[in-house]
Symmetry: C3
Subunit: 187 residues, 3 copies
């Protein structure tokens, strides 16, 4: 069974659960009630807050902050410098009031994106680098900008498979790059 | 009297002044002439430059950089990954030329916002996550985008109390959420 | 000959090459095949990936990530929290496919900018703080926004020397601030 690797400079608080094959890199900090799956990478200087739940085969790059109230599925890519939030009304003198965010299986979040809490990310969607996510993102959507808007639709392999408009309902779209038939359901 | 807590991995340079009840977390660095008030939290991996002055009851989240030329009032929230700047004409081969920025009492700065120097932030204003601040922000304004524009006006409790237009002069607006009567003066 | 300074908390992997007079600050990490020139500053908590090549007199501020596939010329300023990327189709379960990015001599990249890979930055261009670079940037261009657009043109000293439109071809523009005659060639 694959071991867990924790760099000597990383800090794992007592009570954190980390799956086999996972690697926690330099100066990262994992809080006490975080649950991290198998074969997960937590990059340099990243922060996994208490209560965060992360699936299997997730890659979290450098300098990422994931806060209490966020859950992450399997096979998710979280680019460098990405930050989540967990309170829509932050004030120094007020208590936290957590809004929850779920990141579905297969999602990729580009570098330096900001995910405002309460907005779920649908399966296999692709958040462009530098995006500010202010609303729920449909599965397979490619979104970018501040605030984000839909720029197209992507395959599981991340290549574009459709342009801007995609009606509500079920779609079956074959990827010209990898040949995969994607089944996409838009609410 | 409440003690100061400094995590063993944080670095506080000789000469930095830190008020009672303050906490400096993992891998943070506070430079020698920084002055930090009482009950301030400095989050993981954050950086407080020399010459920075921070008031009381300020919460600075993870991975924040605050540079020389910035002063911060009381009860300010600085979200994760926020960065300030202090030079409008940065070049590797030129000297610094500092432009000053003041963050007034009660301000909240959302996650991953960028504050371009020389732009003061008015009392109780709320900078949305991911914003790029390129101009002075009036008190109680809610701003967002890159560059920022005014999206509304907020109470001391951070809830919206008015929509986009608010004329110059004095306004007294009661918050429907917390009942507070906000007195707002727009220049 | 000037020494190299490495803060005791910084990690330099075996095989990294660092030029004389360079300084590597707190909690930074330089990977094994990185090549860093003379008189370079690598700021707190920054990350220099394997394969990265950096010229002379480069200032890299705090919390910067520079990835394999990026090369940086001389006299470049990289502001705090800047991140590069190196894969246009990131997925947790797929292999990397690197797109290359070159940062030319004299470029300045403002705080918290995101540089999407495959987009070269021309000599002396100035990327405004918070920008998301999605295309190639001409020499001496001042760009800002998400996605970036051209806001003007700047001197080697970073002051504006021309407004929005500048036709293809060669331009010779004298700076009103420092008197330098800039020769700019737009493709």
């Amino acid at each position: 069974m694959a071991e867990i690797y924790v760099h000597p400079t990383a800090i794992i608080d007592d009570g954190a659960i980390i799956g086999t094959g996972s690697k926690i890199w330099h100066f990262a900090h994992v809080r006490d009630t975080a649950i991290i799956g198998d074969n997960v990478i937590v990059g340099k200087s990243s922060y996994i807050d208490e209560g965060v739940k992360i699936g299997n085969n997730v890659k979290i790059q450098n300098l990422v902050s994931i806060y209490n109230g966020v859950t992450i599925g399997d096979n998710v890519f979280v680019g460098p410098h990405v930050t989540f939030t967990n309170d829509l009304y932050p004030r120094a003198i007020a208590d936290w009031e957590i809004s929850y965010t779920h990141v579905s299986d297969g999602v990729s979040i580009g570098a330096n994106a900001t995910i405002i809490c309460g907005n779920n990310l649908g399966e296999n969607c692709l958040i462009a680098a530098g995006s500010v996510v202010t609303k729920e993102i449909p599965p397979h959507a490619l979104v970018g900008g501040n605030p984000v808007r839909i720029l197209g639709w992507v395959c599981k392999c991340a290549r574009k498979i459709a342009s801007k408009t995609l009606e509500k309902g079920e779609h079956r779209i074959k990827c010209q790059h990898c040949g995969l038939l994607n089944e996409i359901f838009i609410h």
